[in-house]
Symmetry: D2
């Protein structure tokens, strides 16, 4: 039976870290820092663009953005592995929470933070 | 044939946004902001912990951390969908780049940023 | 009477943006993105260091870190200017709030997030 | 002679940390994490707003934003103090670098990252 893509990536990334003797640096504290630094490189691509421009990237920038997003996924998988967290299970659990927190009829077409709805 | 976990999550998340008429807010610029805000909530869990403590979270905190990581994956998938980026392909491409950039014998046990190796 | 250092920096930075016709890009949304991207460059310097190493930077790295922190201050001042916020007044107001929220006898030697104390 | 506002804030914040025995947590690594977490709270305020909306905040949100920016300044000052960095000097030094890197006639009305101009 084929393993899932996230499992395969996880195995590959763990090997990458182990063969370089880098697991000693890969505690969740450090990995969360690397993760947010990669996110910021994504943000940087969009900071002076209009929302519309961010939807329509020229090919070279689209490719750079894809690789930044890859970095984010890579560190996210590494961090999950170190904490023995199943990302997919956690995501489904969080989606369930969000579906309850943001009922369709209450939030239709109105995006705010949960805390801001609570003030209503 | 079973679809991959990331594909399934993507479908579920797209439906979540569409039924709430939230796709209008989900351009890559905005999503990159939501993504980094979620990363920061992860960072916040670790900011006053030692690296060792970050490896050994008490159960309640471990659970909160899992849900923060879920949020990161959720926004990452949403952003990739809006830009028509295949995250898994991009990750394998980036791993290939990293394997070339950080040859095992050069970086063994020594984690720095690529730019810092270049100075050697 | 000499003006304060933050006022002087503010004037200099506003002129810098205006002479380049960049104020059109300097809305708070965009500036908050530039600001967090600069913060991430600071984080990146420390991500693989131990806490102790981060206190004792070699001179070249110390200098790079100083310039990253300068970038953060620069975008913070720009963002405050666009929103007509007095940073120093806001900081004193926030310190007052923090002094009330974290009474010395309750939090002595114990750093957690406010929400975590509330659970006690 | 009156001391500068940043010097006064620095003294107040150092006392705040010392009386709570929190300096043990305030190494630059940890402080950079706290700093970026505060930046993200600012970003969160703007993530679903248009650039125009971010320029015109309702009073309550304007006030919350001011306090988020205060938090950023507070951690920036703390981090500078721990590293013995003079923020104002560093800012003037960085402005000089930026003035040379972005000559008015080359970048007029065109905001990109330095690396993107270099490709021209």
């Amino acid at each position: 039976m084929p393993k899932d893509s996230l499992d395969n990536l996880n195995t590959r990334l763990k090997t990458f870290a182990q063969t370089r003797n880098w697991e000693q640096f890969h505690d969740p504290k450090n990995l969360s820092m690397a993760l947010i630094a990669e996110c910021a490189e994504l943000v940087e691509h969009f900071q002076w663009l209009t929302p519309e421009q961010s939807m329509n990237l020229p090919p070279e920038k689209h490719d750079e953005v894809a690789l930044e997003m890859a970095d984010i996924l890579i560190y996210l998988i590494r961090c999950a592995e170190r904490l023995d967290i199943n990302l997919v299970d956690a995501a489904y659990r969080k989606i369930g929470i969000n579906e309850a927190r943001y009922p369709t009829d209450k939030v239709y077409g109105d995006a705010r933070r949960a805390s801001e709805y609570d003030k209503d």
